[in-house]
Structures are given as structure tokens and as C-alpha cells.
């Protein structure tokens, strides 16, 4: 699961409001709970996608994985390859492999196995 995907996921339990963003908890018993995989950099693609993410959530989540993004950005930054590369790295290259997603509101936990979250209710 990429951080970009995580940016869109929310809790789907009935009557749970405000279950976003889901907290990522890594599985400590797994030797490879996070993977960094290469992805071709496409400047326009990154810019377009960036405009759709919740940037605060991205910033905080990236921090959890040791990535320090700019706290906020302006239109000037969108032409800065360094900035775009850091966004590209955070959004596309980090893959959460083993762990769980926890709702901050109702505390239900959804497992992530081999990069795949299982978000069936009542799981």
C-alpha cells in the first residue's frame, strides 16, 4: 500500500464519523514490513496527483517514515524538481507491506498483509 493510497482511505464502520486519516501501525515481527520500490518519475503526473491529496495527512504520514517534506508549499515549489522528487518519493516509493490501519475514532483495526489492506467491516 503506497502512502498515496493511504491518503484516500478512511474508516468504513457504520456510524463512525471522522475516521480519517487511518493510523499506520507496522508489524514489528515482520522483517520486511516496509519496502522502498523504484518508480519512474513523471513531473506532470506528480504535480497533478499532488493537487488531489490531503497534504497535511501526507506530511504527517511521511514523517512517520522518516521523510521530512516541506510543511507547506506554494506554486513556486511546483517547479522545483527537488521538492517534486521528495513528494514523488513519499507518495509512490514507500510501500507498507505488513501492519495495520487503525481508526482514530472507533479504534477498529484493519490488517495489511503483503501490501494489501483488508477493509471488510467486522474484520
Amino acid at each position: 500500500m503506497r502512502l498515496l493510497t493511504h491518503n484516500f482511505l478512511k474508516c468504513n464502520e457504520e456510524n463512525c464519523t471522522g475516521g480519517y486519516p487511518l493510523q499506520i501501525k507496522l508489524d514489528d515481527t515482520s522483517s520486511e514490513n516496509v519496502k522502498i520500490l523504484e518508480q519512474d518519475f513523471n513531473k506532470e503526473f506528480v504535480k497533478n496527483v499532488l493537487s488531489k491529496v490531503d497534504y497535511d495527512v501526507l506530511y504527517n504520514t511521511a514523517k512517520q517514515f522518516g521523510i521530512s517534506l516541506l510543511f507547506s508549499y506554494t506554486s513556486q515549489h511546483l517547479e522545483d524538481e527537488g521538492f517534486l522528487n521528495s513528494i514523488h518519493h513519499a507518495l509512490f516509493k514507500i510501500h507498507i507491506m505488513e501492519g495495520s490501519l487503525i481508526c482514530p475514532q472507533c479504534h477498529v483495526s484493519f490488517p495489511i498483509k503483503d501490501g494489501i489492506p483488508n477493509m471488510l467491516k467486522g474484520n
Binding site: F8, L37, F45, F110, I116
Partner: protein, 667 residues
């Protein structure tokens, strides 16, 4: 960085062949990364990945190792099963560099005698993570050398295959395994025996002495009264199945003659255990291995076996440093069973035909009933058929591709009910995420390196208004009430941002439209036969770099001609409460909107593998049948459902190959 030939005056300009080779090498690198998550490095290390040199594309250990050893001392050769690549680790970097230079572009010959070109790239480490249980399915044992070579010869010669000339002809042309029954006739239509009609003659006399001996020595506890002889030519197999509980008692034993083979056992949780059955061995399955695990033989000509001591029975090692291919020979099995005279009362009721609810499903009258119906006749079925289903879903439909390709770069797109991820990679300019109710289908998406998760389409865990577009292809028709179908559509609309578009496809009741029959109706036995020709022995994934040819477009909702479909339930022309759901006859028009559509499971249901043929029809074909629930839509019905959802506008509405389709836009 490499030398193709000695003509090195072209230091700054590569020849055409060199350019072509370089392209292929880069393609291999990309494929390894994209599809297998293997990262290559541009500096020399001791380890190499050898693309196109794998067990999965027909290259065996004893073919590859000598080639590699010409360049130096090979520390380890890891050949993961079913993969079209291997990893080689040399003692020194010097030696691996030599291999990289000399072996890149080298031609070798695969198991079918076809030429293959190897592409080598450096990797940081030669390693393979393999999770395999080390225990045999409970209740299973293999007794080696239970008969002598002379006895084996005698038994094989005693089988008279010439008796049944009808079967002979049909079986020869269909390349189908041969079977003979003794004691009781086994019927493949319902996978059961006719207990009231025992066959005259009982079991052959020569079997008596063996059975007595095995009883005395405690290998078996009961004297069998039914025997089935199966003969498998290399390339033939039998689909995964559980022997019908109500037909036979607990103990089932099978004698392997003529050739060893690997039999695959699978637990409902998904654990798969390959078991080697050597020649002249007796396989005994009881308890859990008989009642709960499925067993089957993949249609292929080579098995992946242990390289050292390859004839040892039991679980095939998971050590990829010790695997190779073993060519199959003609194998005959004598399977002995005891017919049950009372209903089965095993401890595995969920898979027991005696204990499961026998009443056929009826049209649901409440949301709860609908949910239960969907659980049994949609969700559970897709989990069982995922692999086979995926293999019949490979050609993207043009209108859907068109829709996706028209979306602007950077669009966030959700595929609700993505199945095997067929559409997730169509347009690289989009960020597509798929979700499906079936874990097994989502696993196939994961294997293809797509972003996907498991969820119910009625509760999609995605923030509202966050998607630029959604697609939902052949999904909503699986919901059993109008309310639930509307709710599914509402979820899709909720995900869209204002102005966002969704493409919805559902199966149409009208399979003939504008005097044109849909592909579903037109598809016939002949085209199925043709596909099988191409498919024979493609259980092995071929080369990494040269992709497999497309299997043709057999893509309508269901795949195969029927085998003696049960006609019960009849044809209701309109739905009436409390009526039983009719079982649809494949490749015919729909007479009812709410139906159960049969799916004939073919091939070993391993995920992602191409389908293997078993010969289309005939009473000898024991393929399990699953029923999937559908509500097929009438003309205008999908539009009407869309109109009940607020804030949507229908942009386009059309008919496409037996489906009603709508493109809608959120206000």
C-alpha cells in the same frame, strides 16, 4: 558495459543487433521490477538474476547449471518454482562479471526444444523468500514401494482399455485422461455413485491379494468395494476436488503405477502442499486430508521436484536451491474406495454435501436474506474460482479502455469490484486503486503489483469526493435486491468529486439486441476447443521477455458450454416472491432477471495461471460446478437506478456486447 561480439570498433555507435539486445535487456530489468519486485543494480556483484532461465519457462537445473559453471564457481543456484527466472551467486565478483559478459544473450534450449535467450542483470543479493508449511495434510500418508516392479507390470498389463470404443474415440480426440470403474459406476455429473446399481463382477480378482495384504499390514482399515483406474498421459491431470463425502467412506487409497507424479493438496485457507507420489507407492488419505483438503493434478508435462533424491515421497522441498524439473511419464492410478450407505456425518459440515443445506436458494425477501444469498452464491464462489476466473478475464473491453484513456493525467480512479485487476494498468497516466470483495482476486492484483484492497462495495473505505473517476464493471448485478443495487451505486457516486465521472457495466437480460447476438450467446464449443488447442501445456508461464500470446477474446460473463445443467427450477418469466431461483442455462437467453449462472471450474485453480483444458464435455469430465447469483438488467433499468441517486446526470447510455452501460457525472 557488455560485449556482444568482438567487433569493438563501434565503441560509440551500437549495431542494430546490439541495440535490440540492449532494449530487451532493459525490458527484462523493468519486467522483473514491475511484476516481480526484483531490483537490479548497475554495478557488478556476485549475484545475478537470469531472466528466461527459470523452472517456470521450462529451463531445468541440469540445463542451466552447466552453462553457468562455465564462467566460474557457482555458490548457489536458486530456481523458484513457476518463475521465468533464477538467481545465481558466484564465488567471486570476477566470475559473475564474466558470466554477465559472456552469457548475456546466450541461447539455450528449453524443455520443448525451443530456443530461449538469457538476459542477465546484477542484483544486490540472490535470495528467495518462500513460505511453505512443512507438514503433510493431516491424515495423509504415502507408503513407498508397496508393490514390486513385477507386480506393477502385471497390474498395468491387466487393464483392458479397448473395451469401450466410444470412449476411446472421444478421449483420444479430446486428449482427455482415460478412466475405468469397477464395483460401482462413478457419475461425473453429480460426482457420486449410484448405490442401487452395483456393477457386475465387483473388483478384479488380481486386486484381492493386494487388498488382503494391505488390510493385514494395517495400511488400510476397510475393504474397498469400488475402484477407479485413471490413466494420465504427460500433460493430463484432474481438477482439484474433494471426493464427495456422501459417496465414499473416510479412507481412500490410490496406487501409482508407471510414473511418479506431484499431486497438489489445498486447504480452504489457501495453504497449498505439493506431494510427490513415487511409482509403486500407495497414497492413503483419511480424515482432514480426505474431507477438507482438495487434491488435484495440474495439467503439465513437467513437475517441479527436489533435485537431490527426487523420487522421495512427501512434500516437495521449498528450498529453491534444490529444485528442478522432472519429465512426466504415463501414469496409471488404481484408486480404491468404500461406498457409503448412510449420509456422511464427518466433522467438516461446511464442505459436506450430506450436512449442508439441501434446499435450493430462493428469491430474497429481506436485506438479511439478500446478504446471505450473496455470501453463498457470489462471495464464496469467487473465492473458489478466482484463479480460473482470472484466466478468462484477460482482454480489456474497448469502450472501457476508451473511457480510461480519455481521463486527464494524474486522475485518481477507483475500480469498484476490480476482480483480477484487468483495468488497473490500462492507462499509466492515472492513479488507479482497485477493490474487490474477494481476497483471492485481490491477491492476483497484488501479484501484478497493483494497488488494491479488500472491501464490500456497499461500504467502500474511501473518503467522499476524493475520486476523479470510478469504474464498476460487472459488479452491481451481483446484489440481490433493488435497494442494495441502489446503495452500491450511491457509494460509487459518493466517492466522486463534483464533476467526476463513473462508468458502470451490468449484464443485460437482453442478450440479443438490434438483431445481433452478443458474444456470450454466439460463443460455442468450437471456439472453446480452439482455445484449448492453444492452451495445451501452457500450465508453465513462458519467457519473461517475450510475452504470452493473447488467448483470444472469450470474455463475456460466463465461459464454457454447459454439462448437463440441472433443469430444475424451470424458467420463470417474471419474479414471484418465494419462488426458487432458476438455474440459467449458459449461452442461452435469459427468461428471468434473477438467476443462478453455472460456472464450470476447469484446471487447477492456482491464481494467475492460464487455464488448462480438460476436454469440453462428456460424462467423463468431473469438473465442479458453482452457481453465481445475478440480477440481469432490462433495458432502461440501469438508467432508472441512476436517476434515483441525487446529484447525478447521465452522460451516455449504451449497450455493449450483452451489457447495459452508463456513464454518469456527479453534479
Amino acid at each position: 558495459m557488455f560485449a556482444m561480439d568482438s567487433n569493438h570498433q563501434s565503441n560509440y555507435k551500437l549495431s542494430k543487433t546490439e541495440k535490440k539486445f540492449l532494449r530487451k535487456q532493459i525490458k527484462a530489468r523493468h519486467t522483473l521490477l514491475r511484476h516481480e519486485g526484483i531490483e537490479t543494480v548497475s554495478y557488478a556483484t556476485q549475484s545475478l538474476v537470469v531472466a528466461n532461465g527459470g523452472l517456470g519457462n521450462g529451463v531445468s537445473r541440469n540445463q542451466l547449471l552447466p552453462v553457468l559453471e562455465k564462467c566460474g564457481l557457482v555458490d548457489a543456484l536458486l530456481m523458484p518454482p513457476n518463475k521465468p527466472y533464477s538467481f545465481a551467486r558466484y564465488k567471486t565478483t570476477e566470475e559473475s562479471k564474466r558470466a554477465y559478459v559472456t552469457l548475456n544473450g546466450k541461447e539455450v534450449v528449453d524443455d520443448l526444444g525451443q530456443k530461449i535467450i538469457l538476459y542477465l542483470n546484477f542484483v544486490e543479493k540472490a535470495q528467495w523468500k518462500e513460505l511453505r508449511p512443512q507438514a503433510l495434510p493431516p491424515g495423509l500418508m504415502v507408503v513407498e514401494e508397496i508393490i514390486s516392479s513385477e507386480e506393477e507390470k502385471m497390474l498395468l498389463e491387466s487393464v483392458d482399455w479397448t473395451e469401450d470404443t466410444d470412449n476411446q474415440n472421444s478421449q483420444k480426440s479430446l486428449k482427455h485422461r482415460r478412466v475405468k470403474h469397477f464395483g460401482y459406476e462413478f457419475h461425473y455429473e453429480n460426482n457420486n455413485v449410484d448405490k442401487d446399481k452395483p456393477l457386475p463382477g465387483g473388483l478384479p480378482d488380481i486386486c484381492d491379494s493386494f487388498l488382503e495384504k494391505w488390510l493385514r499390514e494395517g495400511y488400510i482399515k476397510h475393504k474397498p468395494d469400488q475402484m477407479t483406474i485413471n490413466q494420465y498421459e504427460p500433460g493430463q491431470g484432474i481438477p482439484a476436488h474433494i471426493d464427495t463425502h456422501s459417496a465414499f467412506e473416510d479412507e481412500i487409497v490410490s496406487l501409482s503405477l508407471g510414473s511418479e507424479i506431484v499431486m497438489d493438496f489445498k486447504h480452504p485457507d489457501g495453504i497449498a502442499v505439493p506431494v510427490m507420489l513415487p511409482r509403486r507407492s500407495l497414497l492413503v488419505i483419511t480424515g482432514e486430508s480426505r474431507y477438507l483438503w482438495t487434491h488435484g493434478i495440474t495439467c503439465r508435462k513437467f513437475d517441479t521436484v527436489q533435485a537431490s533424491e527426487s523420487h522421495k515421497s512427501g512434500i516437495i522441498t521449498s528450498d529453491v536451491g534444490d529444485l528442478t524439473l522432472s519429465k512426466r511419464g504415463l501414469r496409471t492410478s488404481f484408486t480404491f474406495r468404500k461406498v457409503r450407505q448412510t449420509p456422511c456425518n464427518c466433522s467438516y459440515p461446511l464442505v459436506c454435501d450430506s450436512q449442508r443445506k439441501e434446499t435450493p436458494p430462493s428469491f430474497p425477501e429481506s436485506d438479511k436474506e439478500a446478504s446471505r444469498l450473496e455470501q453463498e452464491y457470489v462471495h464464496q464462489v469467487y473465492e473458489e474460482i478466482a484463479g480460473h476466473f482470472s484466466s478468462t478475464r484477460h482482454t480489456p473491453w474497448p469502450h472501457i479502455v476508451e473511457f480510461l484513456k480519455a481521463l486527464p493525467s494524474g486522475s485518481i480512479v477507483a475500480d469498484i469490484g476490480c476482480g483480477n485487476g484487468k483495468y488497473l494498468g490500462i492507462n499509466k497516466e492515472l492513479y488507479m486503486v482497485g477493490c474487490d470483495r474477494s481476497q483471492n482476486l485481490v491477491d492476483i492484483c497484488r501479484e501484478r503489483q497493483f494497488q488494491a484492497f479488500v472491501c464490500d462495495a456497499l461500504a467502500v473505505p474511501v473518503r467522499s469526493g476524493s475520486c476523479d473517476a470510478c469504474i464498476s464493471i460487472a459488479v452491481i448485478h451481483h446484489f440481490a435486491t433493488a435497494e442494495r443495487r441502489v446503495a452500491a451505486l450511491q457509494e460509487i457516486v459518493r466517492l466522486l468529486r463534483p464533476g467526476g465521472k463513473a462508468l458502470i457495466y451490468v449484464w443485460a437480460m437482453e442478450q440479443e439486441y438490434n438483431k445481433q447476438k452478443s458474444k456470450y450467446l454466439r460463443g460455442n464449443r468450437n471456439s472453446q476447443g480452439k482455445k484449448e488447442e492453444m492452451n495445451s501445456d501452457t500450465s508453465v508461464q513462458r519467457s519473461l521477455v517475450e510475452q504470452m500470446p493473447d488467448m483470444g477474446s472469450r470474455d463475456s460473463a460466463s465461459s464454457v458450454p454447459r454439462i448437463n445443467d440441472s433443469q430444475e427450477g424451470g424458467c420463470n418469466s417474471r419474479q414471484v416472491s418465494n419462488s426458487k431461483l432458476p438455474i440459467h442455462v449458459n449461452r442461452t437467453s435469459f427468461y428471468s432477471q434473477d438467476v443462478l449462472v453455472p460456472w464450470h471450474l476447469k484446471g487447477n485453480p492456482d491464481k494467475g495461471k492460464p487455464v488448462e483444458p480438460f476436454g469440453p464435455v462428456g460424462s467423463q469430465d468431473p469438473s465442479p460446478v458453482f452457481h453465481r447469483y445475478y440480477h440481469v438488467f432490462r433495458e432502461g433499468e440501469l438508467e432508472a437506478v441512476c436517476r434515483t441517486v441525487s446529484d447525478v446526470r447521465i452522460l451516455q447510455s449504451y449497450y455493449d456486447q450483452g451489457n447495459w452501460c452508463v456513464i454518469l457525472q456527479k453534479a
